[in-house]
Symmetry: C2
Subunit: 146 residues, 2 copies
DNA sequence: CGCTAGTTGCAAACGATTTGCAATTGCATT
DNA sequence: AATGCAATTGCAAATCGTTTGCAACTAGCG
């Protein structure tokens, strides 16, 4: 059994170490997250979970997401409009470009931008705890020169 | 009668031109917005409005904000956690630094960052429609050198 | 295998925002 | 100034995403 492109962390181990019980619902949700490449919202996770175990409730999905978020295992994003979307925290830091037409989320990173952010905060007398950079755009059509 | 630091636009004129009726509730809300320097949420605007005219309803505040947003007269911000906060669109573009301890919002702008954003989007084959850059931080204490 | 605290599903509660509807009111027209 | 009608309002109820109280259930230590 091999693993996916991005680092797939052993959540169960992490959870156990944190003194959290590994229940059946949690195992199912964890598996789903580990196998996920996109940024699903709670309802999507709930549906994927339901197809594996009909008895899992939406509340449990929410509770588990909150738990994992608290542990730093996942990140919660509140993109414009829609419900919160989640992603594994395992990879390295990145920001998001959201396709306004499809809702697709593309990850990107810019050290330069981060540096500038720090610089700006410092000048204002602040220390950045975290930030949020989201670009909302549309695919450039072939004809769109200029 | 003179005007405040930032450009205070003549909303009534703008609205009339857009074929929108100037009602009493709207006039009150418009005055509040014109006199506002911060980033109030709907409830705050509602309260300020109520103190002028008890009959104004929260629904009307929401409806008016949506109307103004649609006209591009105000911007709606969904900062972490809390309810949407509004600000006049009159000034020039800027991003926000939110003080995690006080909730204060500080405006800043960086051409360099905007350029980098465009560049990144272009490389990914996208055209930015709008973006959202929020820094969440804490005041640096005097002793916090480095 | 039994015990107990941690977890669950359910339904109800929540906060922010939107909406249906009947009553009201701008305002263009006489 | 009086008329007419569509735009707008206040209210209450509805909506959406998310959280919570509670009694039943269960992981996993001993």
């Amino acid at each position: 059994m091999n693993h996916s492109p991005q680092t797939k962390p052993d959540y169960e181990r992490e959870l156990r170490r944190a003194g959290v019980r590994i229940t059946r619902p949690r195992r199912v949700i964890l598996d789903i997250l580990a196998a996920t490449e996109d940024h699903p919202d709670a309802m999507e996770i709930f549906q994927r979970a339901s197809s594996i175990d009909k008895s899992i409730s939406l509340s449990t999905v929410y509770r588990t997401m909150k738990l994992l978020e608290g542990m730093g295992a996942i990140h919660r994003h509140a993109f414009e409009g829609g419900p919160a979307r989640f992603e594994q925290a395992s990879g390295d830091h990145h920001d998001h470009l959201i396709d306004l037409d499809t809702g697709d989320v593309i990850e990107f990173h810019s050290n330069r931008i981060e540096e500038l952010q720090d610089e700006i905060a410092r000048e204002l007398g602040y220390e950045i705890v975290h930030h949020r950079l989201e670009l909302y755009g549309r695919r450039r059509k072939a004809g769109n020169r200029k």
